[in-house]
């Protein structure tokens, strides 16, 4: 089994692309981060970057709340207000919730399925770098004074050159296209990882729910993002090359944009919330000391949401006038999707029911998620009613609704996930005292900000308008909302204080501080770079829990597990017969000096960074600067050719210990 394949192993070296820089080897310094292919490091990069964007998007929100705190305020002019709400929405969706979820995917999926890395580590690095450069490109527009101003949905023809002649929406179109490539690459990677890299015995129904939700989300990303790409390409060629997709003078149809955008946009909503649901489904059983209630139902509900999410998009368009048939169909499908969502909520409550619940910070965030998400879900299903929706469209009621879902839902769950897995990732605990203060301020501030917006919306206060008149009676309510916004920001500040405080205190966490259930708690904190010294054999759902408590097996799973066939694992073997020099996940090089005993991990590579850089420069060049395109293409080709000719692992020098 362990014999190498001489032909495959040595041949590609003869056609290796000449390297300008030596292949990085060091584990330290900035170069090691730029060239890393370790899923844990990439997860950390995602987390830090998107948290910085979270602060940026939050500041944009605070400026808007300041502006709206008084009637007829002149702090912000209408044009800047347009830019603020456009960039706030775009940032929070594409640069915060999606990549923060990706940070969890990266950190957790290989650990939860018992793998040593994702299926394509270099592709994974590429996703991150494209995301980083794309986000910088998008926000670069602030510095040229031309930030996008057409809303995160970029409705054409309002975003068309005829009505929006500055460069802002061009930055938006190209920036989001770049980010879309990153998302699709990551989605493909996690689909393959989850299907192919599971440890022996981990059948699909034994996968942790977070991994399941990652899988559903990845499928949605891979299928939904191309639709956005199409909409953006159409708008881009219209703006840059004078085609007519959305040129109303030539017969272009504004409703088409809405259809294409929301056909992406509604699955996108589930792309944002399903990972959060996965996180909560991991936290609740641990702190209730009970298995998840109705695992199979919960997983199927998640899959059902992912599927039905494709058939509800036109509820964003009830006021367009699509006719009673279309409106009824989408009203029914929108009401129907509340069913699997409700199933999940009852499953979570059932998980806590009768458990010995510990109210740690992570658990508090998870419970808040259920409460806030239920409120957001209820106001959401109200929009399924067409006449009701006509009253609420474009008012602050909608703003309140989706912030309950996306902040009260997604962000609360993500914070819970940070508190839950922080000890695993760093090896030390986050302070529970600061954590609870952080939770309380965020929860109160959030409700103070967004609950009143339901009233404002029902009273007719329109969204996306930079101010309101004095005699409307909205001053007090808006003042509360603004105060709540700053309270929330203060809560986030406490989180940052907690991070620095805890990093100084460094209370050691141990391997399994919460008495966890899934495989990531069975290894050291922080995990060694090869994750598992020995790939685990999985016998049960919540395998680690039953490894620790074998006496409970009979109680929960009395008859399910006799004589099951073990699925082979992609991560298990140390060589890959099929195609050594191109394949990403295994090869012939030992991991580290003393540890890992001949575990094979891919070598570091700087080509993902270069490829992403080239791609972004090409994107920037599309703003009709031809020489920049040429520079970008050259860098892109350098990255592409270098990558395809680079073996995953350089050959081991003679005499180096192999370990097998």
């Amino acid at each position: 089994m362990q014999t190498t394949h001489p032909g495959v192993g040595s041949e590609p070296i003869s056609m290796r692309f000449p390297r300008i820089f030596p292949r990085p080897k060091s584990d330290y310094g900035i170069w090691s981060w730029i060239s890393t292919v370790d899923h844990k490091r990439i997860g950390t990069l995602y987390a830090v970057t998107s948290f910085l964007w979270f602060l940026v998007g939050g500041i944009e929100a605070l400026i808007m709340r300041l502006q709206l705190s008084q009637a007829d305020n002149t702090l912000v002019d209408p044009e800047l207000f347009n830019q603020l709400f456009t960039m706030h929405g775009t940032t929070m969706v594409f640069l915060v919730v999606m990549p923060l979820s990706a940070a969890f995917f990266n950190w957790l999926v290989p650990l939860q399925i018992g793998a040593r890395d994702v299926a394509f580590p270099r592709l994974n690095a590429l996703s991150y770098w494209i995301f980083l450069f794309g986000s910088l490109f998008l926000n670069f527009s602030w510095f040229v004074g031309d930030a996008p101003n057409g809303g995160w949905f970029g409705y054409a023809p309002n975003s068309h050159l005829a009505f929006n002649p500055t460069h802002g929406m061009t930055y938006w179109v190209i920036g989001l296209n770049i980010l879309g490539i990153a998302s699709i690459a990551a989605g493909l990677n996690f689909i393959v990882t989850i299907l192919n890299m599971r440890a022996p015995g981990m059948t699909l129904t034994k996968m942790p729910v977070f991994t399941w939700m990652t899988f559903v989300t990845s499928v949605l990303i891979v299928l939904a993002l191309p639709v956005l790409t199409v909409a953006l390409i159409q708008l881009q060629v219209d703006r840059l090359y004078g085609t007519h997709f959305y040129n109303t003078a030539a017969g272009g149809d504004p409703v088409l944009w809405q259809h294409v955008f929301w056909l992406f946009g509604h699955p996108e909503v589930y792309i944002l919330i399903l990972p959060a649901m996965g996180i909560v489904s991991e936290i609740l059983p641990v702190f209730s000391r009970k298995p998840l209630f109705g695992y199979t139902f919960l997983v199927f509900a998640g899959v059902a949401i992912g599927f039905m999410g494709w058939f509800v998009w036109s509820h964003h368009m009830f006021t367009v006038g699509l006719g009673p048939a279309a409106n009824s169909a989408f009203a029914i499908s929108t009401m129907a999707i509340a069913i699997p969502t409700g199933v999940k909520i009852f499953n979570w409550i059932g998980t806590m029911w009768g458990g010995s619940v510990r109210f740690s910070t992570a658990m508090l965030f998870a419970i808040s998620f259920i409460a806030m998400f239920t409120i957001g879900g209820l106001s959401g299903v109200m929009h399924a009613s067409v006449p009701t929706d006509a009253q609420q469209q474009d008012t602050y009621f909608v703003v309140a609704h989706f912030h309950y879902v996306l902040f009260g839902g997604a962000i609360m769950a993500i914070f819970g996930g940070i508190y839950f897995w922080w000890p695993k990732a760093t090896g030390y605990m986050l302070s529970e005292g600061w954590g609870k203060a952080n939770w309380l301020l965020m929860l109160i501030g959030f409700n103070l900000q967004f609950a009143p917006q339901h009233w404002l919306g029902l009273d007719g206060m329109p969204r996306r308008v930079f101010t309101y008149a004095e005699n409307m009676g909205w001053e007090n309510t808006n003042m509360y909302a603004s105060a709540g916004g700053f309270l929330m920001a203060f809560g986030v500040l406490l989180f940052l204080i907690n991070v620095f405080y805890s990093a100084r205190k460094r209370v050691p966490a141990g391997d399994d501080p919460w008495d966890g259930r899934t495989l990531e708690w069975s290894i050291a904190s922080p995990p060694p770079h090869y994750n598992f010294e020995k790939i685990p054999n999985v016998e049960h759902r919540d395998d680690w829990w039953f490894t620790k408590h074998p006496e409970l097996i009979a109680e929960y799973y009395h008859d399910e597990h006799e004589g099951e066939l073990r699925a082979p694992s992609g991560a298990q073997f140390d060589d890959d017969v099929e195609d050594e020099h191109h394949d990403e996940h295994t090869s012939d090089h030992h991991g580290d000096d003393d540890h890992g005993h001949g575990i094979h991990l891919p070598d570091m590579s700087y080509y993902p960074f270069i490829l992403a850089l080239g791609l972004t420069i090409v994107g920037a060049g599309l703003m009709t600067i031809i020489p920049v395109i040429i520079i970008g293409v050259v860098i892109l080709l350098w990255g592409l050719i270098g990558w395809s000719m680079e073996p995953v692992n350089d050959p081991v020098p003679e005499g180096a210990s192999h370990g097998h």
Binding site: A119, L195, P226, V230, G251, L256, Q572, V577, H660
Partner: protein, 221 residues
């Protein structure tokens, strides 16, 4: 680890050991997932074409300009390239280097001929008076077929790369999966063309000026 692998070994039809949970290689699964993604990409553009059918305000309209016989020839060429692809993969898997190389380059040549047809067609249309900026038909037609052409171009370059690999001996029976991936991609692009050909050239080819639009007069643009 050697003992574990002995227990869980699964062999593919060609006798290679595949060490994944599904028994499919990672790369093949990646390619299938990517093609699913590409379906949504082309699907959205084809839907756009259909939505904008009969909605151009000025000519030329499809009936004025589309040439079904010529495009049928190029379609036939592309379909035959898929046949060549199947033969190429089969020979490479059998380790018959010369025949494998020959058929890979046959795919390359047929793909290039298809692209030349497209270049001719685009040029001809531009001369007669249809560009992406002319009307909705021009916009949707050029962007959809142009992006398909870009896919074909990428496939031709990829297959050239593999063809030279076959000559040098780096593409062999034991890593024929690399050619199989290119083959999956190539067949997919071919299938997309069948849909595009049907939608544009067969369904829309007789579309004349819709009510309220100006009929097209050749040479008067």
């Amino acid at each position: 680890m050697a003992s574990a692998s002995a227990t869980y070994e699964i062999k593919s039809e060609h006798g290679e050991v595949i060490n994944t949970s599904t028994g499919l290689s990672n790369k093949k699964l990646l390619m299938w997932a990517f093609l699913g993604s590409d379906v949504m990409f082309f699907g959205s553009f084809i839907a756009t074409f259909l939505v904008y059918r009969n909605r151009s305000l000025v000519g030329p309209y499809p009936a004025d300009i589309l040439d079904i016989p010529i495009t049928s020839v190029s379609t036939f060429v592309l379909l035959m390239s898929s046949l060549a692809m199947v033969l190429a993969l089969s020979y490479v898997q059998e380790g018959r280097k010369k025949l494998g190389t020959l058929w890979i380059f046959a795919v390359v040549v047929l793909g290039a001929i298809f692209l030349l047809f497209q270049v001719y067609e685009f040029n001809h249309f531009a001369k007669v008076g249809l560009t992406p900026r002319t009307n909705l038909f021009g916009t949707t037609f050029f962007i959809l077929t142009g992006l398909h052409g870009a896919h074909v171009t990428l496939g031709v370059l990829w297959l050239m790369f593999l063809g030279f690999g076959s000559i040098k001996g780096t593409l062999r029976a034991d890593n024929a999966i690399d050619l199989e991936l290119a083959g999956l991609y190539w067949h997919f692009v071919d299938i997309v063309w069948i849909v595009i050909f049907t939608v544009i050239y067969l369904i829309s080819a007789r579309d004349v000026a819709p009510p309220g639009s100006v009929p097209w007069v050749p040479g008067a643009h």
